[in-house]
């Protein structure tokens, strides 16, 4: 096993009673010092994964390794992991200082040392001078930072963050995203961050795990996942996308919307049915006859930065376009896109098969 691996899930299944499993045969590795994000819709098992890592619950099957040792039955107070809870879980009977000092007091650290460490942790999260405040006197954003300070002061090897930003307004949220990312870089420890907000995930992570129904759908860097979604679920969950049925005629040639297009995908069987993904921002509006596709504008929505334009081609496929150009409803327009903008998805392909195909494709490209 890689020395850099700090946490490893090996075929982990978690099941409550006779319900369908909450996590179904999940395996992954977490490397030291990176920012990971677990991304997925509500109820997909994100919190469950964190609870398994923190030790609040045990896997029904499979093993969890920490620094190479199985930790399935190690109680949470003996794990080198700290958590920032979804609801912060700050102790309401203790003030800010005592909340942050909680873990240090349990370690029986000297009072003078506690003082120094707590002050330092609070400075880290920009909360100097708030030591004597009561928790109910703090704002949502401040509470969250206390929760982070309380966790990092213990110098854990891994910090787990369960949707810590979900209660904040958009502006504070964006600010905190920067602060958290910055914090992770400064501390150099592993962050495992849970969110169901795809933009947040794309902006912050070194690596994203996309989860659905207790399974990891895809893992990879934000660009990998955005540009090469493995299936319909990932494509739809990460950003907006146009997904239409198509057919892979041969390598580098795909057919959809009744036409054939040059593309950069390969490794499919001839005439294999596939799904095509094109991101709305990769579609460019042109004059009707200049476009690769001819569509009719159905509706137009102003989104601030761009217009969200909804069009239909003659086959009835819906095409979503993001453009700064304004068009009229009912206009016949053309859509242009580069071969690179077309992403072809094989139906029902697993992550492993996908990686393999992608690997083969990269090798071919390098040989060229």
């Amino acid at each position: 096993m890689d020395k850099n691996t700090i946490i490893r899930f090996e075929h982990v299944t978690k099941q409550y009673d006779d319900d369908p499993p909450v996590l179904d045969d999940v395996s992954f590795e977490i490397e030291r010092g990176k920012f990971y994000t677990l991304l997925g819709p509500s109820g997909c098992g994100k919190t469950t994964i964190l609870r398994l890592i923190a030790g609040f619950t045990e896997p029904t099957e499979g093993n969890i390794y920490f620094n190479g040792k199985v930790i399935n039955n190690v109680p949470p107070n003996q794990r080198q992991v700290n958590t920032v809870f979804q609801d912060y879980a700050l102790f309401p009977h203790l003030n800010v200082f005592e909340n942050v000092a909680f873990g240090l007091r349990i370690k029986k650290m000297k009072e003078s040392e506690i003082e120094v460490k707590v002050k330092e942790a609070l400075r880290f999260v920009n909360l100097e001078g708030y030591e004597n405040r009561e928790i109910n006197e703090m704002s949502g954003g401040q509470r969250q930072r206390v929760a982070i300070a309380r966790a990092i002061v213990n110098e854990p090897e891994v910090l787990l963050l369960d949707e810590p930003l979900s209660a904040l307004d958009l502006k504070l949220r964006t600010e905190m995203q920067y602060e958290l990312r910055e914090l992770q870089r400064r501390l150099g420890i592993t962050f495992i961050f849970v969110t169901h907000d795809q933009e947040e995930a794309l902006a912050m992570s070194d690596e994203i795990f996309v989860l659905n129904k207790g399974k990891i759908q895809q893992s990879g860097t934000p660009t990998d996942i955005y540009d090469e979604p493995i299936n319909r679920f990932v494509a739809e969950f990460i950003g907006e996308s146009n997904i239409v049925p198509g057919k892979m005629i041969k390598d580098f040639l795909v057919e959809f919307a009744g036409k054939q297009f040059e593309c950069v995908d390969q490794g499919f069987h001839p005439n294999e049915p596939v799904e095509i993904v094109i991101r709305p921002e990769d579609l460019e509006i042109t004059k009707r006859d200049h476009g690769k596709l001819q569509v009719r504008v159905d509706s137009l929505l102003f989104r601030g930065v761009h217009y969200e334009i909804c069009c239909y081609d003659q086959d009835g496929n819906e095409w979503l376009v993001h453009s700064t150009k304004k068009v009229g409803v009912g206009d016949e327009i053309g859509l242009h896109f580069d071969p690179e903008a077309i992403h072809v998805m094989r139906l029902g392909e697993t992550e492993e098969e996908f990686e393999k195909r992608l690997g083969a494709y990269h090798e071919v490209n390098h040989e060229k």
Partner: protein, 263 residues
């Protein structure tokens, strides 16, 4: 106009308080200044500070303390287990149920159980300890009182535990606390209000218990409650009885304030 009509609604309430709360207290206060012949005197108060009554006060407090302490020791874990069970409402009902039965009935039931040929003695004999004098002992008095008061201790603690956010327990564990430390530093402080309410609900009535002292403890235990009863019903010394009652009320007020929730 509006506030006037609102005040009208208050009249029955105020009347009630005046008639049944304020008036009796004033009456007690009034009676406490008269001796058995109906002469005004401060003698009752002097008498209260004699060793006989002070010892009685002390023993009242001691037994009330014992009853409260044992109730707490039993009720806290019970309430905790209750919050973890599947059929909470059912278990809660079973705990509340005995409070619907008349106190005297329960006391008589224990007379049967603890009697020389009662169930408890048969059991002791069976396990080889042999028959014991159970009735009319300190033990039986505290035991029966604890049994009677436990629901009043369980309920407020149960409510406090239910209100406790479970992720606080997770957080404490996450920060390295063992079960015991988690209990001591997080769970107990955060349910302290419930514990205080429970202690109030047990300690204050326990101070003035009198029926059980006679039935179960056979008048071996003399509390302030018993003394008041004796003065009013037996010696007819209403003045002294009222004086004791005044001290009891003062004691209760002090306890209420001391254990009250500062907020």
């Amino acid at each position: 106009m509006k506030s006037n009509t609102r005040n009208l609604y208050l009249i029955p309430y105020v009347l009630w308080i005046l008639l049944f709360v304020v008036a009796p207290i004033l009456l007690i206060l009034y009676y406490s200044f008269f001796d058995i012949e109906g002469q005004f005197t401060l003698g009752n108060y002097k008498k209260f500070f004699t060793p006989v009554y002070l010892r009685m006060t002390l023993s009242s407090f001691w037994y009330a303390f014992l009853i409260t302490a044992f109730s707490l020791i039993i009720a806290y874990p019970t309430a905790y287990l209750l919050t973890k069970t599947k059929h909470k409402q059912l278990w809660l009902l079973l705990i509340i149920l005995p409070t619907w039965i008349n106190l005297l009935l329960k006391a008589y039931a224990f007379l049967g159980i603890f009697g020389t040929f009662g169930f408890a003695n048969s059991f002791l004999e069976l396990i080889g300890i042999g028959r014991k004098q159970l009735l009319f002992t300190d033990f039986s008095f505290v035991f029966v009182s604890v049994y009677i008061f436990i629901p009043f201790m369980v309920l407020p603690i149960y409510n406090a535990l239910e209100k406790l956010n479970p992720s606080l327990v997770d957080a404490a564990r996450d920060l390295g606390a063992s079960w015991w430390t988690t209990f001591r530093r997080v769970v107990f402080p955060l349910t302290l209000d419930g514990v205080k309410s429970g202690c109030q609900a047990v300690f204050i009535p326990a101070l003035s218990l009198f029926m059980i002292t006679r039935l179960i403890a056979g008048n071996r235990v003399i509390t302030l409650g018993t003394a008041i009863e004796q003065h009013f019903l037996v010696t007819q010394d209403w003045g002294m009885g009222s004086t004791i009652a005044v001290f009891l009320i003062i004691a209760m007020a002090i306890i209420m304030v001391a254990t009250g929730n500062r907020k």
